[in-house]
Amino acid sequence: MTFELSDRVQTVPPSGIRRFFEIAEERDDVISLGVGEPDFATPWAARDAAITSLEQGKTSYTANRGRRDLREAIADYVADRFDLGYDPDEEIIVTAGASEAVDLAFRSFVDPGDTVAIAQPSYISYEPGVIFAGGEVLPVPTDEEDDFRLTVEGLEEAGADEADMLVLCYPNNPTGAIMPAEDLEPIAEFAREHDLTVLSDEIYAELTYDGEHTSIASFEGMRERTIVFNGFSKAHAMTGLRLGYALGPADAIAAMNKIHQYTMLSAPTTAQYAALEALDSCENDVREMVAQYDRRRQFVLSRFREIGMDVFEAKGAFYCFPEVPEGFTAEEFAEEVLREQGVAVVPGDVFGAGGDGHLRISYATGLEDLREALARIEAFVDDHA
């Protein structure tokens, strides 16, 4: 017998980077700039807390919403860092990665036929998430001329005033763009005016290199219509521990918790202990990692300029987004540079509207490797000039 796949599953195409995987597998000298996760290990204190919790046999489920002490620590942290006030009892839910939180939000707030506007290029999971929830995606392209920031004109042009929901991701994966407060203000106004629910994925908030991160939820009248996502994967280098969280008004979080309690029950317990310690005592580790990313960022940006590839001045996350030289599509460039030089990069197309003609370069890789990878890219560009 064969399974009859649901329309929802069938609608979503396979991931655009699978083909590259296969090529990368063929050789053993590949330097990957295709990785969207830290190359650092989780700070030792957090790992130690996880180990200790295991030694003490703390291996049962926790409260559905996550341990109370962790939710309190998260509330303190977001208040302190991003000026966000959330009640640990009712307005915070701890999830298995920010990914789960994003999925919960789509399933909690999207009805079949609802339109979800997504500022693009952006993280690849939002679109499938909307489709799995039965909604329809409205791409809102951003472009390089606006530094890949979302603008009200962009929203209007795409017809987002008619949408039900808006998804934001700043600092952005894949462009590294950020939205400073003055750019967010008109977006907030637009959302209020057109009654949009806002899902704001701020998982890269700590990785902001020029100025402070501002959350759209901190604007007047936005808290009640926004869900903020964050987590420990990026800034705390905890991808494999799978821990994230969402912040929002009590009724919205209660709805998300309803799905969460039937599908996940609770986020990984060991990871919750690690996360608590990460918030408690790993601030310096985070600061040191951010300093390293910043150095690499400057290194990579400056090398692309030397190579003669136009590159957008990324100010957040750990990606930069150079333009593909003339004569190539992004796909072609990515495939050929992988075959000829063994450097893995991701073509911008996979991130949606506005990503074509670009490459996502991750600098979550040691400097020695970055240096070698950029030398190879330079050789490739010279060969094809």
């Binding site: 980077i17 590259f20 995987f21 990368a24 597998e25 590949v30 990957s32 295709g34 990785v35 969207g36 996760e37 190359d39 993280y123 690849i124 999971s125 994966n173 150095r295 690499r296 400057q298 290194f299 400056s302 090398r303 893995a344 991701v346 890789t365 400097l367 240096r371």
Partner: protein, 161 residues
């Protein structure tokens, strides 16, 4: 502040080129050069050396950590004793430390015999030295902040979201 940043990068890898350091710090190359000159001139940077994992080399290299206790008198201070010891090329590091002993000395030689002889013939006879305790290094796991473990392969997938 930029000098501090340059210093950090040199400590990470003294072989970064000035151009690389300039890229990483967003300084001009000549500013980086000036900062390095300044660091060297003021004696903040005392030299540049390779961090060596001797276990990887065929040649034997013997290293020892030596604890030294001294008795000072009116004429002789720590500085006098340190000067006497530091001039020996076998002494790679010498530090005055707090705790159960006074000096912490790193000694290197081609054989255990050579290192032992050096300690018994050159160090122990120094009149102010009352006791030496020698610890031969058996394996080094980390030197100058660099770990010598081999499991450094990047096990991450070559592509991830």
């Amino acid at each position: 502040m930029s000098e501090r940043e340059v210093l950090e990068l040199l400590r990470e890898n003294a072989r970064y080129s000035t151009a690389d350091i300039a890229r990483m710090t967003d300084l001009e190359e000549d500013e980086v050069e000036a900062a390095i000159e300044e660091l060297e001139a003021t004696g903040v940077v005392r030299g540049y050396q390779a961090v060596v994992d001797w276990d990887k080399l065929e040649d034997e290299r013997v290293r020892a950590e030596v604890e030294l206790n001294v008795r000072l008198d009116r004429e002789t201070g720590y500085d006098d004793i340190s000067q006497r010891l530091a001039r020996f090329p076998q002494v790679k590091a010498l530090r005055l430390v707090s705790g159960d002993y006074d000096f912490d000395m790193e000694v290197e030689g081609d054989s255990i015999r050579e290192v032992s002889q050096f300690i018994s013939e050159k160090v122990a006879p120094v009149p102010e030295i009352t006791q030496t305790v020698t610890h031969y290094v058996m394996t080094s796991y980390k030197e100058n902040g660099i770990e010598f473990g081999d499991g450094e392969d990047d096990e991450r997938l070559s592509f991830s979201p």
